[in-house]
């Protein structure tokens, strides 16, 4: 999963935030409720203890302790109400302790004596040996003319605890479940909302310089995505315009450059041939003529590129055997290699039918071979191969020449790119040979790649889709 996608980030943030809010809300609810229930229990104990003090202990001098004990039993019936009541004199001697509750959940006699300082009013929780917990409210009571007493009223905390535990369990299970439901729901919603983005993306991927007249689908949803696709379409329209303009410009420019170049070349030629001309001047004019000729070549090649860019009509396309074309072309160029004592070998045995303009594909072979021969020192070797691999014909031209520096490798198919910036003396090429190879390949739906190790040689590979065998075998036209 792409963790940087809008879908993922949106859902992750939203699920994360919701989970944090859930945890905070749950925790505060749980803690508040626990405090409230404990305080309530405590207040009830304190109320009862105060009642005992004010009504009974305040008159114990007159009524006697036995009367007080009887009244406690009558009023509070601690055994039936699961309560703990203990009355102790100031010196620590026990006056009364309630009996065990009917359900026997704890034994009041086991409750340890409170050893801390006896404040006027205090509370504590007491863990019992049976596993139960008592919340005990203690009251130190002393009134004028009466002895002082330590009154303890207790009640089991366990119902509160079990209720809290139940609540905790519900929160702990319910909240993650809610978070999962919200995450999945959110994911589905986001996915639905972003589906048009996927459609726009895949449609945009299909648009190249050859089909700039195509447009992206526009969902009439009225939302931001409709605006986006409309805006993108306007941008493509502007690109289309700009591209058409630049194509027209290149075509017009190469056309309009031809006439002045003809004049320039013609005049220079006539001057160079003038027998009365001073020799030094003739040399300079000859050099100008060379430049004019070079310029003409660039214009020619630019014109070829312009035509390829504009997506030449496919009406001239035929089905032909690449292996055969490679063999004849290699043979036609063999003497160029021989001249440099380069061994030129061709391995193209299996026929490989491809579809296209065979004269253009031949241009690819010629340019690649010419390059290989040019950049391989004498007595080197150039190998040409045609292979077939998964629905494609592979044309490989490999040499053991000077190679291409790694920094230059990504740029060699660019127009006017030169590996060594200075035009080598005698090098009449315009720096467009490989750009033309690339443009022809693109027009044929083929790919061209270059591999090289400086000093060890270069390998160029053209990958052309094989012609579909199902279609009727049209003329296997092949020019030699």
């Amino acid at each position: 999963m792409n963790t940087r996608s809008i879908k993922f980030r949106l859902v992750a943030w939203y699920a994360g935030l919701l989970s944090v809010i859930f945890v905070l809300l749950g925790a505060s609810f749980y803690l508040d409720l626990r405090n409230f229930l404990q305080a309530d229990l405590r207040q009830a104990q304190a109320r009862r203890a105060r009642l005992l003090c004010n009504l009974l202990l305040a008159r114990v001098q007159q009524t006697g302790e036995a009367y007080v004990i009887g009244q406690i039993k009558d009023w509070f019936a601690p055994e039936s109400n699961d309560r703990f009541i203990r009355l102790t004199r100031a010196d620590g001697t026990l006056v009364y302790v309630s009996g065990a509750p009917k359900d026997g959940s704890f034994n009041p006699a086991d409750v340890p004596v409170f050893s801390g300082p006896k404040a006027a009013e205090s509370w504590r929780t007491q863990k019992l040996s049976g596993g139960n917990t008592l919340l005990i409210e203690g009251l130190y009571f002393k009134s004028a003319g009466n002895p002082a007493y330590w009154v303890e009223f207790g009640s089991l905390l366990d119902p509160v605890e079990s209720m809290l535990q139940h609540l905790f369990l519900q929160l702990a299970l319910g909240l993650p479940l809610a978070a999962v439901i919200i995450t999945v729901g959110g994911y589905l919603l986001v996915q639905r909302a972003l589906r048009p983005v996927q459609l726009i993306t895949s449609a945009a991927e299909q648009i190249t310089q050859l089909n700039l007249s195509d447009r992206l689908p526009v969902a009439k949803s009225g939302d931001e995505l409709e605006q986006l696709s409309v805006a993108l379409n306007r941008m493509i329209a502007r690109l289309d315009d700009a591209f058409q303009n630049s194509k027209r410009f290149a075509a017009d420019a190469s056309h309009d450059l031809r006439t002045p170049l003809t004049v320039l070349r013609g005049e220079l030629e006539a001057m160079v041939e003038d027998p009365q001309l001073d020799e030094a001047l003739r040399g300079r004019l000859a050099s100008l003529l060379e430049e004019a000729i070079h310029l003409s070549k660039i214009v020619d090649q630019l014109f070829v590129l312009t035509k390829l860019d504009s997506g030449e009509a496919r009406k001239d396309w035929t089905r032909f055997d690449l292996a055969g074309l490679v063999q004849t072309t290699t043979e036609q160029m063999s003497l160029l290699a021989e001249d440099k004592r380069i061994v030129l070998s061709c391995q193209a045995f299996e026929p490989a039918l491809v579809q296209g303009d065979s004269s253009r594909i031949k241009q690819v072979i010629v340019n690649l071979l010419d390059n290989a021969i040019k950049y391989t020192p004498p007595a080197g070797r150039v190998q040409v191969r045609v292979l077939r691999a998964d629905g494609h014909a592979l044309l490989e031209v490999e040499d053991n020449g000077i190679g291409i520096p790694p920094a230059a490798l990504p740029h060699i198919f660019e127009r006017f790119y030169r590996v060594d910036k200075a035009r080598a003396a005698g090098d009449e090429s315009a720096g467009l040979g490989l750009a033309i190879v690339k443009a022809i390949c693109t027009a044929h739906g083929a790919e061209v790649e270059a591999f090289s190790a400086p000093g060890a040689g270069s390998r160029f590979r053209v990958k052309i889709p094989l012609a579909n065998q199902e279609i009727q075998k049209s003329n296997p036209a092949m020019r030699s």
Binding site: T259, R265, D300, F303, K307, L335, L336, Q363, V366
Partner: protein
């Protein structure tokens, strides 16, 4: 020899006319289509050089009208376009040769001469230039009675030159004829083949038949180079 030049670009027309006049041709120049057609239909020219983009009447239209008149005058097309389909459609209309701007004047001169001296094609099966003999049926080549082994391309090259002994062929003409358009950029391929041909043909003999014409191309001739 009288040549009609129809070219709307004043300066280009000047250069061509000047160059051809220096070769002792009579040249009439027109700068627009209607005038060109008037001249072409009125006078009997030995050659017409026609630009395709003309004001008033296109070069293609003039070409068609001349051919409809059933005139056999050789026509050389000049154009600033080099679209393949243009080339084909103009040859179909009856153009004899085709030159794309910018061109070298030497190239134009060679082609003009080739068109003017075209004459009947030598159809005999044996071609002879001096003591060189080519058998077109068996593709065997002999010089002074001694057999010379040539590769297929070398033979094609030699035969092309031998069809018109003494005529100068430009490198571009040789590439167009012996190779094809794809080799247009590699004019040195002609030089390499010519050198190999020369080694086999001329090196063993004092009298040379293959001549390099500086800045233009090659010719095969029994006479010493001009």
């Amino acid at each position: 020899m009288r040549i009609l030049l129809v070219e709307d670009e004043q300066k280009v027309a000047d250069i061509i006319a000047r160059g051809l006049k220096a070769e002792r041709f009579a040249v009439d120049v027109c700068h627009d289509g209607p005038q060109g057609w008037e001249m072409a239909s009125t006078y009997d020219y030995d050659l017409i050089i026609l630009d395709l983009m003309l004001p008033g009447l296109s070069g293609a239209e003039i070409l068609e009208r001349v051919r409809r008149k059933n005139s056999q005058v050789p026509i050389l097309i000049l154009t600033a376009r080099d679209r393949m389909d243009d080339k084909v459609s103009n040859f179909e209309r009856g153009a004899d040769d085709y030159l794309t701007k910018p061109f070298a004047f030497a190239e134009l001169r060679v082609r003009v001469k080739a068109l003017l001296r075209r004459g009947p094609v030598n159809r005999s099966s044996i071609l002879r230039v001096g003591d060189l003999e080519l058998d077109r049926l068996s593709q065997k080549v002999k010089r002074a009675g001694k057999k010379i082994d040539l590769t297929g391309k070398e033979y094609a090259l030699l035969e092309y030159l031998a069809t018109h002994p003494g005529r100068v062929f430009s490198r571009t003409m040789i590439i167009e004829h012996v190779w094809d358009q794809s080799f247009q950029g590699l004019t040195n391929i002609v030089d390499v083949y010519m050198r190999h041909l020369r080694e086999k043909l001329d090196d063993p003999h004092a009298h040379k038949l293959l001549h390099t014409v500086r800045g233009v191309g090659y010719s095969l001739s029994d006479e010493a180079a001009a």
